[in-house]
């Protein structure tokens, strides 16, 4: 029984570690921020889940299992939030290779703006272009 549990745990751990390696490879090889994020978020969800399952099986005990479950749930909750923020800023600051995009639904619609649109962070006040030369 324990041998079988160890085999399952090591399989999960190996799969998670392999996903970490693929994330590193994708980070180095992919061309722009969005595709690097695509590679980098693989271990954030599947890899962390697999590693947590393996660690929970190996460690045993309900307190460890609950805390590892907390880590996994937190990863699942926060990965889309940070990915959304980073990709939005990346698109608007033109860190996207647009010649590699097949579909670009934001093209030409003023999504790479330079004016006040009401959703800037930092609570920036609206700027009047006339009163602030060069600002």
């Amino acid at each position: 029984m324990t041998a079988l549990a160890d085999v399952v745990a090591f399989a999960c751990l190996l799969a998670g570690a392999f996903l970490c390696l693929t994330a590193g490879l994708g980070l180095v090889r992919f061309p722009d921020v969005l595709s690097r994020m695509h590679a980098g978020t693989k271990p954030q969800v599947v890899g962390v889940l697999l590693v947590m399952v393996g660690a929970a099986i190996r460690l045993g005990g309900w307190s460890n299992a609950w805390m590892l479950l907390l880590v996994a749930a937190f990863q699942l909750l926060t990965a889309p939030v940070s990915a959304h923020l980073i990709s939005r800023v990346a698109y608007r600051r033109r860190h996207v290779r647009r010649d590699l995009l097949l579909v670009d639904e934001f093209r030409g619609a003023g999504h790479q703006d330079d004016g006040y649109r009401g959703d800037e962070p930092g609570d920036a006040p609206p700027e009047d272009p006339g009163s602030h030369p060069g600002g």
Binding site: L14, C20, A23, L27, V28, V48, G54, S82, L85
Partner: protein, 109 residues
Amino acid sequence: MTVVAGALYALIGGGALLALVRLARGPSLLDRVVATDTLLVIISAGLAVHAALVRDPTLVPVLVVVALLAFVGSVSVARYVGGMLLRSRTEDGRDVGLPVAAEERESRS
């Protein structure tokens, strides 16, 4: 057993090293943010793997802290970069556009 442990540490160490390469090279700040995020996730996975290998449950709270720190760090830096959005207008109201991104410069040269 030791072969599996070595393979686990090698895979995670390789991933962390490649993320460090991107962290050092990345042309823009957002590349470094993505690389830091991935590096912290790989570090937490490595801690979990170590805890599982030596059966040491004292490392488990550290995992919670690292997961929290990764989220807070990447989100705060992304919002800070978003606050730096250029408002490049000349006096006659003509839009001079945003500066050329590092990726476009790389692909052109």
